[in-house]
């Protein structure tokens, strides 16, 4: 039975707070690049970009948001049927010397983020890399933690977290199953 843990308004509030936290830690929107990890991370990155554009006058949300596909850097490619990669789009200004904020929907084992760090390494040399996630469900396999968390959600490994976002899904909610 699926239980809703975040509703649309909760998600909006969490993203607004995360956007403020990003701006606070970066001391403004200068040299900020926000890269979403497909599929839902890209949508979240776009929303955070828009929110930052609303908070910081003079910032250019379209010029700071992009997508970072990590398919080719995964460590489990040989254990699944072949995955189809998604496009990587880096803002024109590049990532050299910037503060890159990676955005994903759920932080679990940390392996996706490990792959994202490797992918980032091949794109350039950012000044710093931060991590923003909508949900942190624990159970890390690697020494990785998020800097900005929408919601900490203690789970068991048997449970399943579903993030649905309007734009990709019919509803907007985070549910827990199992």
């Amino acid at each position: 039975m699926a239980r809703t843990v975040l509703q649309q308004a909760d998600i909006a509030r969490a993203l607004t707070r995360v956007s403020h936290e990003i701006l606070e830690s970066n001391r403004g929107a200068d040299d900020l690049v926000i890269l979403g990890i497909p599929t839902r991370g890209v949508l979240l990155a776009e929303r955070i970009g828009e929110l930052i554009g609303g908070i910081e006058p003079g910032s250019d949300p379209a010029g700071m948001v992009g997508a970072l596909d990590i398919t080719m850097y995964r460590d489990d490619l040989a254990k699944h049927p072949t995955r189809t990669p998604q496009p990587t789009q880096v803002p024109r200004q590049g990532i050299d010397g910037k503060t890159v904020v990676l955005v994903d929907d759920v932080l679990y084992s940390g392996r996706t983020i490990r792959a994202a760090l490797d992918a980032l390494n091949d794109l350039g040399r950012p000044r710093a890399v931060r991590l923003a996630v909508l949900v942190d469900r624990g159970h890390r396999d690697l020494p990785i933690r998020a800097d900005f968390v929408g919601k900490n959600l203690p789970t068991s490994r048997a449970e399943r977290i579903n993030v649905r976002l309007s734009g990709l899904d019919a509803t907007e909610e985070v549910t827990i199953e199992g």
């Binding site: 080719m72 850097y73 254990k79 699944h80 072949t82 189809t84 998604q86 091949d122 794109l123 350039g124």
Partner: protein, 318 residues
């Protein structure tokens, strides 16, 4: 996908998926670090029983950019010249742990034999077999067309309604055959033009129209894409046309025919070109020509194919 042997067995969604993945691979070619770690620890053998420079280098570059180890094997200077059979060669490669085999062979069907045998459990890519097929060439041609016609909006699209004219040696051309099936699958309208002596028996059953007069075909079709095939002198054991000058005048893309084309018609050639024979230098070096794009796109397409064949869990033997 377990093997890539022919474009004839490719479904439309599979073909579009290869082209879409090649878009991602092409993006990687524009980065400073052009390498991906995806096939680390995999071994790809380029098994070439027939001379080839660009296809072999293209596959080698593709495999290396995906971090695979590449072993090049050419029949010359190998045990094949001492009489080793394909079976023994394949079993030797299997014993060395090859995960993928890229094979070019002078016999049509050799890649199928290798793929269907139990000699080696590796993904097989046909890189040209006899006068049968050359699937990665057709895929890179389709990719080049799609990029020229749809630009950045290419992803997910096929080639519906695109009018393509392919001119030259249809009889010996595996590029023509692979293009025939792939373009049919992707929804393009194909016309072949060739001297009657260079049209194979059975061409009337193909899903393409066949003509003998280039000027008439160009005037009637007004093509989006004009592809000139190479006159393969190494396969010309009989007199298929009186002489080279006659061929150039009747079926070559000279400056005059070039000027009569629509200004947005793209001109393709799989290379290597015989300048002055099937294509004039003016046409080959014009802005409408995609010859060098085809070479660059070849690496992206081959990366996509190697990725699809070698990265995932090995599919069960079908």
């Amino acid at each position: 996908m377990r093997h890539l042997l022919s474009t004839r067995d490719l479904r439309r969604d599979e073909a579009v998926r290869i082209l879409d993945i090649a878009e991602d691979m092409a993006d990687v070619q524009n980065r400073e670090v052009k390498k991906l770690p995806t096939l680390r620890g995999k071994t790809v053998v380029n098994l070439f029983f027939e001379d080839s420079t660009r296809t072999r280098i293209s596959f080698e570059a593709a495999a290396k950019r995906l971090s695979a180890d590449v072993i090049n094997f050419s029949a010359k200077g190998s045990s094949v010249s001492k009489g080793e059979s394909l079976k023994d060669t394949a079993q030797t490669l299997a014993a060395m742990g090859a995960d993928g085999v890229v094979i070019r062979h002078h016999a049509s069907g050799a890649p199928q034999v290798l793929a269907q045998s139990d000699w080696i459990d590796a993904g097989v890519v046909n890189a040209g077999d006899g006068t049968h097929e050359h699937p990665t060439q057709a895929l890179l041609d389709a990719f080049t067309m799609r990029r020229r016609l749809h630009g950045t909006a290419s992803r997910g699209r096929a080639l519906d309604g695109v009018r393509v004219v392919i001119v030259g040696d249809i009889l010996h051309s595996r590029v023509a055959r692979s293009n025939l099936w792939l373009l049919e699958t992707l929804g393009a309208e194909l016309t072949f033009v060739a001297p009657a002596t260079l049209v194979p028996v059975g061409a009337e059953t193909w899903p393409a129209s066949v003509g003998f007069d280039l000027d008439a075909a160009l005037a009637e079709v007004r093509p989006d894409v004009l592809m000139m095939l190479r006159i393969q002198s190494e396969r010309m054991h009989a007199a298929y046309f009186p002489n080279a000058r006659e061929y150039a005048r009747q079926w070559g893309l000279d400056d005059e025919r070039m000027a009569a084309l629509r200004p947005d018609t793209i001109v393709m050639h799989p290379g290597p070109m015989n300048r002055g024979l099937e294509i004039s230098s003016g046409a080959a070096d014009s802005a409408q020509s995609t010859v060098l794009e085809q070479v660059a796109n070849g690496v992206s397409i081959r990366m996509a194919v190697l990725y699809l064949l070698l990265s995932g869990e090995r599919e069960a033997l079908s």
